[in-house]
Amino acid sequence: MSLFVAAFGFGLVSMSVIAIAAVGFTMQFGITNMINLAYGEVMISSAYVAYYLNKAGISIWIGMVVGALFGAAFSFLLNRIVYAPFQRKGTSYLGMVIVSLAISLMMANLLLPIVGYYSVSYQEGTGGLIRLGAIILTTNQILIIGIAVVVMLLIHGLLKYTRLGKAMRATSANPTLARNCGIPTQRVVDAVWLITGALCGLAGVVAALNSDSFAIANGAAFLITILAAAVLGGAGQPYGAMIGAVLIGLITELSAAAWSPEYKEVVAFGVLVLVMVLRPQGLLAKRGAMAAAG
């Protein structure tokens, strides 16, 4: 029994990492209509940016901030230079997915000669162990959970209470009408790429910090879990992605305890397939896309 309680603790950390990543991913889709398959590679690139800073003796917590800034800048430019021109030319939905897949492959292969095949890890103490009954977590893991909670609250506040956040939801719901209202949707989309890019970069560093080591290949694995959480919650919806992250995070860790850690991703996709069969639109329907919670 205590094994499952401990797994629940790990689940809390997993869901935190997945939530940060999945909310960014799903907002890109919800507002800009872009299924950005390069998301995992941007995550891993940000993790490496933090890694090199860390190697130079800079604290990983500062590296995390720099990683987030790198993710924001990179995603913004990725959209401006690659995605937006294709979208303006009227490239189909599927065409855009292929474009992002191409970017993802290019990034992975360009990174390879720079960072190498080998797994690396941050030089950062895990911090002390904190016990809550059978749940044992490191200080770093507690901090990761804290960061995720703060980020989710900030995203909620942004979408619900700020002019920019409401304009994002309006643009997501009805881009033509948004323009008729005088909303500069182009600038809104730029803001979306900056904010979601920051989430992506932050998630990359947090995910790397939470694993013993990481390598380029992790980019694709990140993407799979994020896709599962985002689609599970209902594609394009931040609150859905949060729920999806909670479910995927918990279920994979519990299944790892019950069965074997190697099958975590299999279980994640099993859950996804099951939900898709029972509720194809995801847990929150598309009608509720970018809706205010509560």
């Binding site: 939801r169 309006a170 719901a173 009805n174 009408l177 323009r179 008729n180 209202c181 809706a291």
Partner: protein, 262 residues
């Protein structure tokens, strides 16, 4: 100058289209259409399904590309200006469908309508449009997709009024409304908006209802202006019934034009 600007008794136009040609993907749907609307005036565009009425409106508000002719706002040429710019310049547009932000609350819809205003101005305008549509203030926190058809259309018009536009462009505001609601919307609200000085350009399937409130009417058939004039003059013409009312539009059953389908 267009013939219609010389008509006596019509105000100087706030918005006018001169010989506009426009359509989808290079295929013109409307050809050489001219129309104008001035302050305190209601101009109705009527015509059978697929005549290009919605296409004309979309060309005027920057959603569709104008390939020939020009659009003037006062003296400024605003042909193919983006919708954001036209909103800033005082053109308000209520589309026939997708006329509100469904996942947003009523208040948030109004806030987005007033996106270009300061937050203090938004608060003032929300109160003011609340006076115009007293049904709305009690439901500000409700999600817009939970509204009834009539409430929804009022929200759509209220949203566009947030910026206090000079020109109001309404695409079949009475589609999907019961005959009673449709009458109320046209005779109360639309008429009042014109009386406070707005230039109202409206596409309407309910031809008779439109003729009752309009100061000027344009009949669009197959993408071209077939007839125009004061409603009473039009009704006296022998070919009017044949042209328009005979074209199967006396039943306002179909809320959408062919060119509206996506």
């Amino acid at each position: 100058m267009d013939s219609q600007q010389r008509v006596e008794g019509r105000p100087a136009p706030s918005l006018r289209a001169e010989h506009v040609t426009s359509g989808y993907g290079g295929v013109p749907v409307i050809r050489d259409v001219s129309i104008s609307v001035g302050p305190k005036e209601i101009v109705a565009i009527i015509g059978p399904n697929g005549a290009g009425k919605s296409t004309l409106l979309k060309s005027l508000v920057g959603i569709l590309r104008v390939t020939g002719g020009r659009v003037l706002l006062g003296e400024d040429d605003v042909t193919n200006h983006p919708p954001e710019d036209l909103a800033k310049r005082g053109v308000g547009y209520v589309p026939q469908v997708n006329d509100i932000f469904e996942p947003l609350t009523v208040l948030e819809n109004l806030e987005m309508g007033g996106y270009l205003l300061t937050s203090a101005q938004v608060r003032t305008r929300v109160a003011e449009v609340g006076d115009v549509f007293p049904q709305l203030p009690p439901m500000l926190k409700r999600r817009a997709d939970k509204l009834s058809g009539g409430e929804r259309k009022m929200l759509a018009i209220a949203r566009v009024l947030m910026l206090d536009p000079k020109v109001l462009i309404l695409d079949e505001p009475t589609a999907n409304l019961s005959p009673k609601l449709a009458d109320a919307l046209l005779t109360e609200h639309v008429k009042r908006l014109a009386s406070i000085g707005k230039a109202v350009l409206l596409v309407e399937q309910r031809a008779r209802a439109a003729l009752q409130i309009a100061d000027w009417t344009s009949v669009l058939v197959s993408g071209q202006t077939r007839l125009e004039g004061r409603p009473d003059e039009l009704l006296r013409r022998e070919d009017f019934e044949e042209l328009f009312l005979g074209a199967g539009t006396s039943t306002p059953a179909s809320p959408e034009e062919d060119d509206d389908k996506r």
